[in-house]
Amino acid sequence: MSISIEDVEHVAKLAKLVLTDEEKEKFRRQLSDVLDHAKRISEMDTGETEPTSHAVPIVNVFREDERRATLSNEEAVSNAPWAVDGEFKVPRII
């Protein structure tokens, strides 16, 4: 099974990536290879098997409702590419 250029365009859009036509074709081919290989898992009979999203057999991990030190405003925006008066500035949102 191969994925189409449209599939590549769709996932690129969801993932906020822009691709050139050349890249689209390259990724289409490479992703198809990997997915064809991955597709082998469908051969496996997983019947009633429960999914494992974690290998740790622990539940109910909480912290108490207590405050910890915050960052100063200077620290919070120290890595920002674009900050104004302690806020993160971004191009308009439409």
């Binding site: 994925i3 599939d7 590549v8 769709h10 996932v11 690129a12 969801l14 993932a15 906020k16 990536l17 822009v18 691709l19 990724f27 490479q30 992703l31 290879d33 990997v34 997915l35 290989h37 991955a38 597709k39 082998r40 898992i41 469908s42 051969e43 496996m44 997983t46 098997t49 429960e50 999914p51 494992t52 999203s53 974690h54 290998a55 740790v56 622990i58 991990v61 912290r63 960052l71 620290e75 919070a76 120290s78 890595n79 920002a80 590419p81 674009w82 993160f88 971004v90 191009p91 308009r92 949102i93 439409i94």
Partner: protein, 487 residues
């Protein structure tokens, strides 16, 4: 003997009894880095002044009679995927090329508290995605055994810098083999602990349910020492395992006669280079001759490990890497932007390399409507079967073994355009991450002049047993080859 060739233990003793100062040690390694790293590119950032400052502080504390840790003053290399406060942390990516963390990862905090001196940040495949350290925005790392070859990956920088004597040991991270595979290719020891034994807080996430930080060292003893420093419960990581744990260095016991060893058929049959298999089999024979019971075992679900992994890991990664958007930190594309959406598109397209884009798209596809059940949900079930296969094996065996990597170090550029072939490099290491168990790679011989790694796997939280078997095998093998260029 040159300081950079000394054992960690020796360096530590000399600092403690004031034969050497911590600063002298740091200077020796910094000089070594300045001499050889141009040809190896194991470090992305060398922290000259910070290392000198930290070493000086250790010396001051020793001079004032303060008791410092047993290993205080020993230098260390840290994979650039671990946040270091005030020290640039890039993950090998353009998108974090100027990022200065506001906090230390828990493991970084722990090694600083133990008095280790961080020499710099080690090169890696971008966001730990890769098996060759070719996917770094800062250029590939070269294998000290042969500069035309890769050091493995993604912790290739950490492996190479240990092999090249640019630090006596290092921290790496392992999501599908990223510590063990480069350790194997560079002829050093590398260990992935049980998932949850070492805190992930401050480890920039690739695949959260698989990532673990671990030691990369010259020998098994150092591995146990470094693990002792970084292991332990962390309330900042929900997946961190609570409870007491033994001192691994103290409980090393190389006398492992009578232990039952399972040789995993699925990881020793197809696709393994003959030279690798030869060295591996020699080591198994050595174990058998020394009184361990070695027997072949078939774990059929492992056939599907790679497939499951290349759905689960990219799925988690696609979400973990969404935060790199140019708003709060990191690289932002230059120029006029029509709106935020254009800013996202351009920042991420210019900020990420091809392999990262590939995995993000792969993961996005696996999670997207219409494919979730077929891919992601199915992969999680395969993961259960792999866990169950391991559990069956633990009923019969103390440890399982396999080659670490199906090949020795390959040529730079050889697999870059063929992701699937590259992914096959992880075939022996992946089941361990899917099941969350501990595993170690130790060098077991050379094939064509290149190191071969021997992988030992143990049940969850049985690091003691794992390290003891590794320690026993290490002394049986007596592997003391060094990269030719460095003798």
């Amino acid at each position: 003997m040159a300081i950079t060739e000394m054992e960690v233990k020796e360096i530590a003793e000399k600092i403690n009894n004031k034969e050497l100062s911590s600063l002298e040690v740091a200077e020796a390694f910094l000089k070594r880095i300045d001499t050889v790293d141009a040809g190896i590119n194991a470090y992305i950032t060398v922290a000259h002044s910070q290392a000198r400052k930290a070493a000086g502080e250790i010396d001051d504390r020793i001079a004032s009679g303060e008791s410092v840790g047993e290993y205080a003053g020993v230098p260390v290399g840290v994979k650039d995927v671990l946040c270091t406060e005030g020290l640039r942390t890039t993950c090998g990516s353009r998108i974090l090329s100027g990022f200065s963390p506001v906090y230390d990862a828990t493991v970084v905090k722990k090694i600083r508290e133990a008095g280790l001196v961080i020499l710099g940040k080690a090169n890696m495949d971008e966001f730990a995605m890769g098996s060759s350290t070719e996917n770094s925005y800062f250029g590939p790392t070269r294998n000290p055994w042969d500069p035309e070859r890769v050091p493995g990956g993604s912790s290739g920088g950490s492996a190479a810098l240990v092999a090249a004597g640019e630090a006596p040991w290092a921290l790496g991270s392992d999501t599908g083999g990223s510590i063990r595979q480069p350790a194997a290719m560079c002829g050093i020891v590398g260990m992935k602990p049980t998932y949850g034994l070492v805190s992930r807080y401050g480890l920039v996430a690739f695949a959260s349910s698989l990532d673990q930080v671990g030691p990369m060292t010259r020998n098994v003893h150092d591995c146990a020492v470094l693990l002792d420093m970084i292991a332990g419960h962390d309330p900042l990581d929900s997946t961190s395992i609570p409870g007491a744990r033994p001192c691994y260095a103290d409980s090393l016991n190389p006398n492992v006669r009578g232990l039952k060893v399972g040789v995993v058929r699925e990881l020793t049959s197809t696709g393994i280079e003959p030279g690798v298999l030869r060295e591996f089999n020699k080591a198994v024979e050595l174990l058998a001759a020394s009184g361990l019971e070695c027997e072949e075992v078939s774990l059929s679900s492992f056939e599907y490990g790679l497939s499951a992994y290349y759905l689960i890991a990219p799925a988690e990664a696609s979400s973990n890497l969404a935060r790199f958007d140019g708003v709060r930190y990191g690289f932002r594309a230059e120029g006029e932007m029509e709106d935020i959406w254009e800013m996202y598109d351009r920042t991420r397209s210019e900020g990420f390399g091809d392999e990262v884009k590939r995995r993000i798209m792969l993961g996005t596809y696996a999670l997207s409507a219409g494919y979730y059940d077929e891919y992601y949900a199915k992969a999680l079930k395969v993961r259960t079967l792999i866990v169950e296969d391991f559990n069956r094996a633990w009923g019969k065996f103390d440890v399982l073994v396999s080659p670490t990597s199906p090949t020795t170090a390959f040529k730079i550029g050889e697999k870059v355009d063929d992701p699937l072939t590259m992914y096959l490099s992880d075939i022996c290491t992946i089941p361990v991450n899917l099941a969350g168990i501990p595993a170690i790679s130790i060098p077991c011989g050379l094939s064509g002049g290149l190191p071969v790694g021997f992988q030992i796997m143990a049940p969850p939280l049985q690091e003691e047993k794992l390290l003891s078997v590794a320690c026993g095998l290490e002394s049986l093998l007596g592997f003391d080859e060094k990269p030719p260029a460095l003798i």
